[in-house]
Symmetry: C2
Subunit: 485 residues, 2 copies
Amino acid sequence: TPIQTPDWVKHAVFYQVFPDRFARSSRIKHLPGLKFKPWGSESIHDGFQGGDLLGVVDKLGYLEELGVNAIYLTPIFTSASTHRYHTYDYLEVDPLLGGDDALRELIDKAHERDMRIVLDGVFNHTGRGFWPFHHILENGGNSPYIDWFTVHDWPLQPYPTEKDIPPNYSCWWNLPALPKLNTNNPAVREYLYEVARHWIKFGIDGWRLDVPHEIDDDDFWRTFRQVVKSENPAAYICGEIWSEARRWLQGDQFDAVMNYLFTGPAISFFAAETYRNDYIHPHLPFEPIEADKFASLIDRMYGYYDWEINFAQMNMLDSHDMARAKWITQDDSALRLCVLFQMTMPGAPCIYYGDEVGMTGGPDPDCRQAFPWHDESLWDYDLLRFYRRAVALRRTHECLRVGELTTLHAEGPVYAFSRNLNGSQAVVAFNTSHERVPVNLKPRHLEGPFKQVWPLESHEGHELSGDELSCTIPPRDAVVLVRGE
Amino acid sequence: TPIQTPDWVKHAVFYQVFPDRFARSSRIKHLPGLKFKPWGSESIHDGFQGGDLLGVVDKLGYLEELGVNAIYLTPIFTSASTHRYHTYDYLEVDPLLGGDDALRELIDKAHERDMRIVLDGVFNHTGRGFWPFHHILENGGNSPYIDWFTVHDWPLQPYPTEKDIPPNYSCWWNLPALPKLNTNNPAVREYLYEVARHWIKFGIDGWRLDVPHEIDDDDFWRTFRQVVKSENPAAYICGEIWSEARRWLQGDQFDAVMNYLFTGPAISFFAAETYRNDYIHPHLPFEPIEADKFASLIDRMYGYYDWEINFAQMNMLDSHDMARAKWITQDDSALRLCVLFQMTMPGAPCIYYGDEVGMTGGPDPDCRQAFPWHDESLWDYDLLRFYRRAVALRRTHECLRVGELTTLHAEGPVYAFSRNLNGSQAVVAFNTSHERVPVNLKPRHLEGPFKQVWPLESHEGHELSGDELSCTIPPRDAVVLVRGE
């Protein structure tokens, strides 16, 4: 059977929300006296600023105006951490976020606007408060749940008083706060599948999977896919795999991955002159590159996978797990070029919350600051306008989403490609230099004239002579021409 | 306004169930591979034997035959301990017990048989896995829940590696496993009231309150009563107060207490010769006493409270918090006299599960062994028959439940009293000696002859001359005569 991924994803523009820091609603009925940090205070790991899911509901209009039609939420289940990757209860939305009722409202209101909601599934490890782990902690080897985790010796020491002693049970990255589930236990598998099914039934549109390679078991993920797709064939399954991911992208496990293979080359090329080379991330090798190297990286990336997969990849410039693109690139034009590239390439772009108004910040926790709703003087409105236009460009031209990709030119500062879909064609040409650069391209033959759709505010001019297209690309910008629509 | 307690309680015979050890159903759909201890294995604190609420449902016929019409369940909410006094989630029945669905079935099936269900509310302290405590443990002083508990210093040490270091947060009895809720925090109050309301709405018939004196705040309990009674005016509120309890029994807080003031004198009198005097319990002073001392203790006990309260007290001979009555008394006749006394006095008797088939055992955990459904050869059928008859005696004669109490005789081994209700009367005379004892009593005047209703199998004979009643009480037994019914 041919590989199949959800159609809606191919046409989606995602927006990633870190719920504690995106928006706080006044509509949540919290118990009195909960002590949140002030909105916009310093981002610290333990500093709950009280963002919630009705806050997201309140901003759906803003997101729609931005052009977003899918939201990926980092974890929202009950968890005693601001990032909520330490799950306490997989079957309950955190009461600090408004509980299940708030998710109900978010899903319903989003669906009314044709927006999708994807949740973060953290199935490799749990928090120390997760019921079966807590049960073992309290009862030792006598707990009926003893086979849910892997304990090396007793007594269990999940809150060690001395540092640097490795935990005496299996953990993710040896972090005692993150005990690793024993997914070889059929009960654990059944439980996790039930969780996956429960929320799909509840109405979510897909799962982003946290560190799924740590569950080193293709059968686990194959069954996971069957469970999810049998409940909703259009549900999206997107794994967090930072490297080449063919193992999981054969059509029987995930639909896509968080495509960080897109991130490294994009920043390396578009921000070659300015990126922060003292920013070291184990999964993101940056290096100053020119168009030929860039093209080879991009070709290699798309070459790994079936196009059904490529069109459904989640293309990121940044996320909660890395510094913000603005901070890394240190240059607004580089950021804009990256965004334009994201909006014109195969794969669903994902905008990390607040990037569009100029939020910046280094590695976690700086990349998780509160969205500045409280002070619009902090907003970069020019950038926001740019984002809206760039997203609209993608949303307007179907060939930019699902058209076939052909590299047309890759040399020095210029990278150009075409996107062909049935009778329509887009030609996209980037120029990373600080000069205007003329370029001759030879896109596939198609009748009819090109129309310039980018830049929006200036007419750059182009000439079509036979199959040869000549145009000039403004400095640190791109030209996008379309025809046949 | 006059004091008012629920009518049904005055007519109730309770049966106390310790859910992990009462009965195990095969109908619970557990996740595979849960490791329970074998049913009937040694009773240890951490040894889950897998009793569940459908197990109770399966035994409702047995309980009905015993004559029981109310069940008091020790805690059933999610809790990582066999006794479940360490609450993890107040709003969920423990999945090991079958979850909310099993309680639903138990309540519905019990109500069909006119049986009531009373739950155990542990509102003073929680377990270490309780969400807000866990939140503070993980996030320290930055947790929004910081005011839910009282922390003395940081870092919190709920799992100390060295013993005998007092915990650095407020706990019940300085036990780190039992952090004390800060009930001065309005949020905590609101939360606990919501819990109380939730389960009353769910259909339970009342709350037994664990260590309520530890929440040293009459207003807390007054509001608690209002919350409960506004949801169901007939709901029972019974505090675990081991001593004189006038403070709470003025009509505005509890309906009753677990009446251990009944237990001590009963065992002291009826088992004066045999009780285990090396059994020390801080709240249960035993001493060999004769009828005059016994009468004064009993009179004092009833004298403390309004009769509306006395009729609704929960009269215990034992419980999960003490050795079993059979073990303490070390004599079957003493146990039977205690039970007969319990069945003829004001206040709702409570039978601790398995006492009726001869289960024995010293202090916790020995008093919490598995009910021997697996081996009926362990049953004392004579004792069971006795229990059924003694319970039936009470259930048959309304005056034994709500009749006015008058002491008629209290001297040496003989204690006798009458119970008058409108035109009916019961005369009850106990003889703790090993000889037949004649006694002359002068019950309140009433027309008509007495009928002997106890013992059932022998006719002891009695004579009524004017208002003077003469009868002979068999050795270590009682005579019960009734008239006017």
